[in-house]
Amino acid sequence: MADYYTLVTCLPWLPEQMEKCSQLPLSRIALNRRLSLLDSHDHQGLAVAEALYHPNLANTQPDRERVLLWQKQIAELPSRVLQEVITQRLEIQTLLAALRYRRRPNTSAEHFYGYGRWTEWIRQHWKDPLFALETQIPLLERWGELFNQGHTGELQFEMDRYFWQQLLAVERSHHFSVETVVCFVLRWGIAERRLKSDADAALADFQLLSDTLLHNSGIQQQLNSLFEDINR
């Protein structure tokens, strides 16, 4: 119990609303230095939680082997609360994977694999637009709308905001515990990914803008007209 008092108080503050997080309060190196206060068991649990919560984008489609691996990894997590948090995250991921999988040609419900309590339900309600889960997940209608419109960036934002609030609620209800630490690190991961993608988007915008400006600059226009005059 007492081991987390120092660690929790040395973690910086992350805003309550994800959109207000405009910069990371500390680097990954500084965060890791502070997380070195965790014992090896908690460290391993944190690594598993991070890997499951922030999966590699290439490995998001669940299959039989991956689902079995997830089940094994979740069972190893150091707390039941964390197991529930990660399970809910993977269930939402399963739902999103089902929406994507259904769009592919020549797919059927029997071949869909997912994690969590809704997998069988999804197979049974494969023809329903949102697998008849709207009542269980109030935000699903909005997510489905964004998905169908192809607004993947906005969909990701909405989902991240949902996960952020969920993690914050767990952090608030567990003071000075491993749950507080893990949920903070998972929120930090969301913030890092968002800020990184924002930075990439900003860089792409800048590149586009600079290219446009260079192509339409006064010098370029003058050079173009000069070449045209010479050619005449």
């Binding site: 008092y5 929790v8 108080t9 040395c10 503050w13 003071h175 000075f176």
Partner: protein, 143 residues
């Protein structure tokens, strides 16, 4: 007779155990906050010493109960001493947790430092109740 001796030393020992745990919890929180903040270090260390008052109350109750132990007064000493000691011990532990929470929130928003200490002060109030009424009741124990 043994219970009488336990009752005599109980407030002191249990109060000290509570203070150790409480100060340790608040002290660990203060140590973490030192890493995260640039100023106000002194007050974090100051808060972490708050649960030490229960040891002092325990010492006073021990002196108030101090008398020759006889079969007649041993049950009374045991009842007052051990129950007062338990109250002091738990109040010190929970005060330490309250102090740790106060440190954690006031590092984020220093302006609520005073308000964040209110729960710890309320816990202290209950320790004072246990202390005062142990002194009052001890007057009725046969010498």
């Amino acid at each position: 007779m043994a219970l009488g001796w336990a009752g005599l030393y109980g407030p002191m020992a249990l109060g000290a155990i509570g203070s150790m745990i409480g100060c340790s919890l608040a002290g660990q929180a203060a140590a973490g906050a030192l890493l995260e903040t640039e100023t106000g270090h002194g007050r974090y260390i100051g808060i972490s010493a708050m649960p030490s008052s229960q040891s002092i109350y325990g010492i006073v109750v021990m002196f108030a109960l101090s008398r020759e132990i006889t079969p007649e007064n041993a049950p009374g000493l045991a009842g007052i001493g051990l129950l007062c000691g338990l109250a002091l011990m738990f109040s010190a532990i929970y005060q330490g947790r309250s102090c740790a929470s106060a440190i954690n929130v006031s590092k984020i928003r220093p302006e609520i430092f005073g308000m964040s200490l209110a729960p710890a002060a309320i816990v202290e109030g209950f320790a004072v109740f246990a202390f005062i009424f142990a002194l009052v009741i001890s007057a009725g124990v046969p010498a």
